[in-house]
């Protein structure tokens, strides 16, 4: 366990293998919540929080499953852990920080079905990460999500006012094309090697 491994995991999750633009995890909230800057930022931070916490919680759960020889139950168990976690975070925020709770609104429960959250937990298991690596991967994966959604939201805000799109490309298709160009830019990071 050294900081170099952690740094390369972190850089990998934020830039080289960005969850949205390279691995295609979490496209639904990326498209749905990116029309306005402030909701995009709120969503991004909520996802960082949930992804980090889910990685931390699912690690011992997975150890338990391996010990009981029940690895085939991983998908079912993880999704239940995530659903319970999101519910818990929701109640906790409502009691302690009501302003943040109201700002996130309906997007909070929707994090359960964000494939980036389940994806990061499954990838942790696949890559054989230990506890600290899992948490770092979860948190930085969330940071990558935040980065992509903030960039995308700012482009979309301008696009809505300034662009003349052909009629059939209005709305969703042009957003996808924009995201495609962003993905092209991010694929430039793929040659990046840290150590």
């Amino acid at each position: 366990m050294d900081w170099q491994t952690l740094l390369s995991i972190a850089l990998g999750a934020i830039l080289v293998n960005n969850f949205i633009l390279v691995q295609f995890l979490g496209i639904c909230p990326f498209m749905g919540v990116s029309k306005k800057m402030d909701t995009a930022v709120g969503m991004g931070f909520a996802v960082i929080f949930v992804m980090g916490l889910a990685s931390a919680l699912c690690y011992p759960v997975n150890l338990l499953l391996v010990k009981l020889d029940m690895e085939f139950m991983q998908t079912v168990t993880f999704i239940l852990v995530i659903a319970a976690l999101v519910q818990f975070v929701e109640m906790f925020l409502q009691k302690t920080i009501p302003s943040l709770y109201e700002a996130l609104g309906v997007y909070l429960p929707l994090i359960t079905t964000n494939c980036a959250v389940l994806g990061v937990v499954l990838l942790n298991v696949q890559n054989d990460y230990n506890f600290i690596e899992s948490v770092v991967y979860g948190l930085t994966g969330g940071v990558g999500f935040l980065l992509a959604i903030v960039l995308f939201a700012s482009i979309r805000e301008r696009l809505a006012f300034n662009a003349e799109t052909p009629k059939c490309f209005e709305g969703f298709p042009i957003a996808l094309i924009t995201a495609g160009l962003m993905a092209l830019a991010f694929s430039g990071f793929s040659g990046l090697q840290v150590f």
Binding site: V22, F24, C28, L80, P173
Partner: protein
């Protein structure tokens, strides 16, 4: 029960990907070769049909407040079954689809159909709905993977035809690698949805 009408809705007018805009992640991520598209499409078709049947059969028993959690458990059960079956019998497809098989659990199409259709309709209608919506999804995956594979690597039917190598249409070095990368997924899907909106606008104008 009107099978023809539901089929038309699932494949065209209410296509889950092109019109309802659900299930984007898997659509763009795995459509790099025909075998991937077909494997994913059929898996989702099977899971969607089975979970629709079970959820609609249990729709009067499941309490309203915990229905989403109950749906997810049903769906996750079927996903695990399909995952294990693929690993046992179709190892190649299971490897190339990787993490996206367990991620079918959070594919919005299945949860959306459970919530908006299966929880309100009878078992038979829900089964038909699962099949038709699944067909619509599979069709989009097939179209996308054919386009991306052709432009990206110059082959047709990779993983299935010609001993898994696919039929070569033009030399590989002429292919636009971009189309197999994530970029190609976004661009192809964007153009397909634009085509769909164009067709819808035209048919609306035609009716006037």
């Amino acid at each position: 029960m009107n099978f023809g009408k539901q089929l038309k809705e699932g494949v065209l007018t209410q296509n889950p990907v092109l019109v309802q805009l659900l299930g984007m992640c898997s659509t763009m991520a795995i459509t790099t070769s025909l075998s991937n598209g077909l494997g994913m499409g059929v898996s989702v078709l099977i899971i969607l049909t089975l979970s629709n049947i079970i959820i609609s059969a249990l729709r009067k028993i499941i309490p309203d407040k915990i229905r989403i959690a109950a749906y997810i458990v049903v769906i996750a059960g079927f996903v695990t079954m399909v995952d294990l079956l693929l690993q046992a019998y179709l190892q190649d497809i299971a490897n190339s689809l990787g993490v996206f098989i367990p991620l079918i659990v959070v594919n919005c199409i299945i949860l959306a159909r459970a919530e908006s259709f299966a929880s309100k309709n009878g078992v038979l209608a829900s089964a038909v709905d699962g099949i038709t919506q699944g067909l619509g999804y599979t069709l989009v995956l097939l179209v996308m993977s054919v386009i991306r594979e052709f432009l990206g690597s110059g082959t047709f039917g990779g993983g299935i035809l010609n001993g898994g190598e696919g039929i070569r249409i033009f030399p590989e070095s002429y292919g636009a690698l971009m189309m197999v990368l994530p970029v190609g997924g976004f661009l192809t899907l964007g153009c397909l949805i634009a085509l769909m909106q164009w067709a819808q606008n035209r048919s609306k104008e035609g009716k006037k």
